[in-house]
Amino acid sequence: MDYVQPKSLAQGRVASKKRVVEKGGIDLTFLILVLLLLAIGLIMLFSASYAYAYYHENGNSFYYISRQLMFAIVGVPVMLIIAGIDYHILHRFALLAYIGSVFLLILVLFVHTREDFNRWLPLGPFSFQPSELAKLAIVILFAHLISINHDKMKDPKYGVWPFLVLMGVVAMLMLLEPHLSGTILIVAIGIVMMFVGGTDLKWFMVGGILLVGGIVVMVMIPNVVSYAASRIEHWQHPELDPLGAGYQTLQSLYAIGSGGLMGLGIGNSRQKHLYLPEPQNDFIFSVVCEELGFVGATIIILIFVLLIWRGYVIAMRCRDRFGSMLTVGLITQVGVQTILNIAVVTNTIPNTGISLPFFSYGGTALLLLLAQMGVILSVSRQTSIEKE
């Protein structure tokens, strides 16, 4: 045997004589990209939030950044610790995490911090979104199932129905909150994982046809036509209702447009001065665009792309399918979430509440994100590189 099996790989098996399983080292590139995004994200959060914080948090300009920083300080060691743990123990938690998530998703319908959206569970001085955990649980469970059933994925009994049921339960509960954007995100991650996991392509075609058909049927219902038309009209023309539904979008576009090519310079956003609602949250990227310009925004997007590319490289090099699928799920989440967030702030798609990883304010979400990055780093330690 011409490979060295790491001690921690209790359940590891040799895949091929031609492969070398490298021991130990985490993927430094990925780690650096994570830390880079985290650093930029924190700086931009401070810039975007201080004016808003000053007015909404009793003159405390540091309200948001101090909390976020605290979570980052806790989160980075957590990430590194998780990176050191063998991710295979997640097999054991796969079902448990899912059941726990479903339980919390039901619980949050009855116990929540805000009246309008049943999304946040109170957690001591903080709050927590069970949907964040559900995302993770779906990824772990899907990775688990795909790694077990990898050879039978073409059979819908293994490759389609279990996933649809598991995803359906979670999606339904989240729609009840309601949390459309979270639902879309989870479904997107699920579909990508099924796709990579080996589900027969025809099912995606069936799904696509059903989706189109569903939309057609919806549109055929008389009242829906005008409603949809009006929604589309307001999405395309936020200036129709500049002080109402279009306000946030319009203010976001003003901010992005104000940035121009080079931006107004860091700290110099004007729109964050109470024009842009909650600039520290879903619309933080508008402030980024205003301050850093098209150039800065493009660089940040490129860093995200690099991170995702690196994630996929890790997934491809992974010595087993569980780690590979985990990585695909977790990094796809970051990718899809980033795309959706920027698409919303640029009004490329209708406004739906979705945060920007590493940037948006949210301590527990950041902590969870860093933990997920830790899992990917853990996976990265067990790569196999083909050597002929």
Partner: protein
């Protein structure tokens, strides 16, 4: 389970990754490019529109000063108190109530008014009150600080116009509207010069209107307005207005009166007034008490519309500078111009004679001389001077006919009566006249004595000035100098000679003829002892308006070297008890009598006047004040007028009493109260000069009797009235003098 990812999985991973990059990231990058590069400028402009707030800094409007630097109009900083209803709505109820209560108390506003403004919560800016002056503005500032409502209430500084002398030269100065823009008069004509350029502060504000903590602030400093220095002399203006105001009352002038004093050599306006006028500090208030009262009485609902119209008309009327805006038929004053033409063209000479049988036939129609109405006979044979002195219409019809239509029209135009004077005031009206081509013998005949055409007062005095100043038609002007805000001279206005109308010689001849009008003719009441005054009266019936008249007099002095001219024009005086044509002359006399010494023009008394030691007091009781003053002045007496009436109710000394040289006649237009009586001082034993001094100081008149005051040893021995008696000011105290210690030493001895 430990199988590595299959080839198919890796392929699908690459597809998923590529899909995300191609469909996702490229799409959002494309959106960003569209928004930031393609539409960037447009969006940035829209963003700046909501972020930038421009605050105006008012420029201080320049002053208006008289020729000696007295301030006639000035600006002071005032504040506008503004509210941001949006911010006010965020205050708690207690503070909102305090805000309404406090501001309504300090600013004197209705609480409902403030509450109403506060309800416009979509607005960030509503003005509560403009032109809040210093003490109140400071109170508001303090109130705002105490209550911590600085977000909701803020102040903007602006300026307010003050006219320290009230209704003084009002129709000349004009006024500014509430936006500080000149609305009438000089304020309007020179608005750009006075206004300056307001400054601006452009700064970035957050959505609550609070300045963003950034260095982005552009300040454009305001440029304060320039100061006008007028040709008007505050003192002369005062003389004119005082006399014009009295004239309006004493002759119950129905359609306002005009007065102008002009420097005949330069065309500078020394004083210009229309009465009644208004107070530019409060221009919308009706200043004339009768008109105001009449308006107030229109209080029924049905009259509301009429009242509104009447008020607007009354405002418009009182703002109107009649001196330049109302053309009228000048009547006989115009004979100055006709005479100048006849003499200049030589169609008549001072030696020409005219016979007036009391009428003249023109174009088959009999036209009566004005004298016919009272005497049923004419002026008889008269030379040119006498014709002017008599203001004989048949003679002037003849003179006009001698000139002929062409020369008459040319002369008329030469004197500037077909064009505006181009005075630097707004609203100068054009004259109305028959053109040469339209003028027949009838029109020419009437025009010769100032009928059938209309010119403005300013045109008339400008033409008359040209006739007497040596023949130069001047462009009248009222702004002499423009100063920048630091007091540096920007522009000096020099006199402009429009043209030489008549020769120096003709002008001199005419002056002497006009002197005769004042010396012996209808202008007698404009005489001033010590000065050679020339002038001409004028009466014109307002055609088609019943027996309404315009009476005027134009006087100038001194005749040998003319300095000033004064025109008084009374539109629709009440003539029931006055000898019509002469009522304006004493007013001009009064103005000139005040103005000439003020200008440093020394009186030159005749030998006879100088030798006179006493004057017999004339009877003036019950006369109109200007008439009475003129008679006393012409008699060579000084006088003091007590009271604000328009008729003489009492005179001291009485008619026939001897007033010593240097004595003062006191003319009462109101009955005197006991507090105005004076006690006669005790002068027994005093020398003549000492006694005179004591009596004059007490406001009484001194007369000597007995051996007189000639001998240096003579002292007073008795007096009448007796010492300590309470008498009216002006009473003559007759003191008997005797020589060599006289009674004084007897008493002591």
């Amino acid at each position: 389970m430990a199988k590595t990812p299959s080839y198919r999985m890796k392929t699908r991973m690459i597809i998923a990754l590529s899909g995300m990059i191609v469909l996702g990231f490229s799409a959002v990058l494309h959106s960003l490019f569209q928004l930031q590069i393609v539409q960037g400028a447009v969006l940035q402009e829209k963003a700046l529109n909501q972020q930038m707030q421009s605050t105006r800094i008012g420029a201080e409007r320049g002053e208006i000063r008289d020729r000696n630097g007295k301030v006639l109009a000035k600006s002071a900083t005032v504040s506008s108190v503004c509210i941001s209803p949006l911010q006010a709505s965020k205050l708690n109820e207690e503070k909102q109530k305090a805000l309404v209560d406090g501001l309504s108390q300090i600013l004197g506003l209705e609480k409902d008014y403030i509450t109403k403004k506060m309800k416009k919560t979509e607005s960030q800016y509503e003005v509560l009150k403009t032109k809040v002056e210093r003490p109140d503005a400071d109170k508001v500032t303090e109130f705002v600080q105490e209550n911590g409502i600085g977000n909701a209430i803020f102040m903007e500084e602006d300026t307010r116009r003050y006219y320290p002398y009230g209704n003084f030269a009002a129709t000349v100065l004009g006024f500014t509207n509430k936006d500080n823009v000149g609305a009438y008069g000089l304020e309007s004509y020179y608005n750009k010069t006075l206004a300056g350029t307001p400054g601006r502060v452009v700064s970035l504000k957050n959505s609550r209107g609070v300045t963003m903590p950034m260095q982005y602030e552009q300040t454009h400093d305001p440029k304060n307005g320039n100061t006008l220095v007028l040709t008007i002399d505050e003192q002369i203006q005062h003389y004119l207005e005082k006399n014009l105001e009295t004239a309006v009352l004493e002759h119950k002038v129905g359609n306002r009166a005009v007065g102008i004093v002009m420097d005949v050599q330069t065309g500078q306006i020394l004083a210009m007034s229309t009465k009644p006028d208004f107070d530019p500090n409060d221009p919308y208030a009706i200043f004339d008490s009768n008109t105001a009262k009449a308006l107030e009485e229109m209080d029924t609902v049905e009259q509301a519309e009429t009242k509104k119209e009447a008020l607007a008309k009354a405002q418009f009327d009182q703002w109107r500078n009649k001196a330049i805006s109302d053309p009228y038929e000048p009547g006989s004053v115009f004979k100055i111009v006709t005479s100048a033409g006849a003499l200049e063209y030589g169609t008549d000479t001072p030696n020409s004679t005219f016979y007036c049988p009391g009428y003249i036939e023109v174009n088959g129609r009999i036209q009566h001389c004005w004298v016919w109405a009272s005497r049923h006979e004419g002026h008889g044979l008269q030379d040119f001077t006498k014709a002017l002195t008599n203001s004989c219409n048949p003679a002037f019809i003849t003179i006009g006919q001698h000139l002929g239509v062409h020369k008459f029209s040319e002369n008329f135009a030469n004197f500037g009566l077909t064009e505006g004077t181009d005075i630097d005031l707004p609203g100068e009206a054009a004259s109305i006249y028959y053109k040469e081509s339209q003028m027949g013998i009838s029109e020419l005949s009437s025009a010769s004595f100032g009928q059938t055409f209309k010119i403005t007062s300013i045109q008339l005095i400008t033409a008359a000035s040209a006739a007497v100043n040596g023949g130069k038609l001047m462009q009248p002007y009222i702004v002499k100098q423009i100063l920048d805000p630091d007091g540096n001279v920007i522009a000096n206005v020099e006199p402009v000679v429009k043209r030489q109308v008549i020769s120096e010689e003709t002008s001199k001849t005419l002056r002497l003829m006009l002197e005769q009008v004042v010396a012996n003719g209808s202008g007698r009441k404009a005489q001033i002892p010590g000065y050679r005054v020339g002038g001409k009266t004028g009466t014109s019936e307002k055609i088609g308006e019943g027996d309404k008249n315009i009476l005027s007099f134009l006087g100038f002095a001194p005749v040998d070297d003319p300095k000033i001219a004064c025109l008084i024009m009374l539109d629709e005086p009440d003539l029931y008890n006055a000898f019509g044509s002469t009522i304006a002359a004493p007013i001009v006399g009064a103005v000139l009598a005040d103005t000439l010494p003020y200008l440093g023009i020394e009186p030159q008394y005749t030998q006879e006047e100088l030798e006179k030691t006493t004057t017999k007091m004339i009877y003036i009781t019950n006369m109109d004040i200007h008439e009475a003053e003129a008679d006393v002045r012409i008699a060579g007496l000084k006088f003091r007028t007590v009271g604000s009436g328009t008729k003489v109710v009492r005179q001291i000394p009485g008619a026939g009493e001897l007033v010593p040289e240097g004595g003062t006649v006191v003319i009462y237009t109101e009955e005197i109260g006991p507090d105005q009586m004076v006690a006669v001082p005790d002068v027994k034993g005093k020398t003549g000069s000492a006694a005179n001094q004591m009596i004059t100081d007490a406001g009484l008149n001194f007369a000597a009797s007995g051996e007189g005051i000639e001998g240096s040893q003579n002292v007073a021995v008795s007096q009448s009235p007796a010492a300590g008696e309470s008498v009216a000011p002006g009473t003559v105290v007759t003191v008997e003098f005797a020589s060599g210690g006289g009674s004084d030493s007897q008493q002591n001895g």
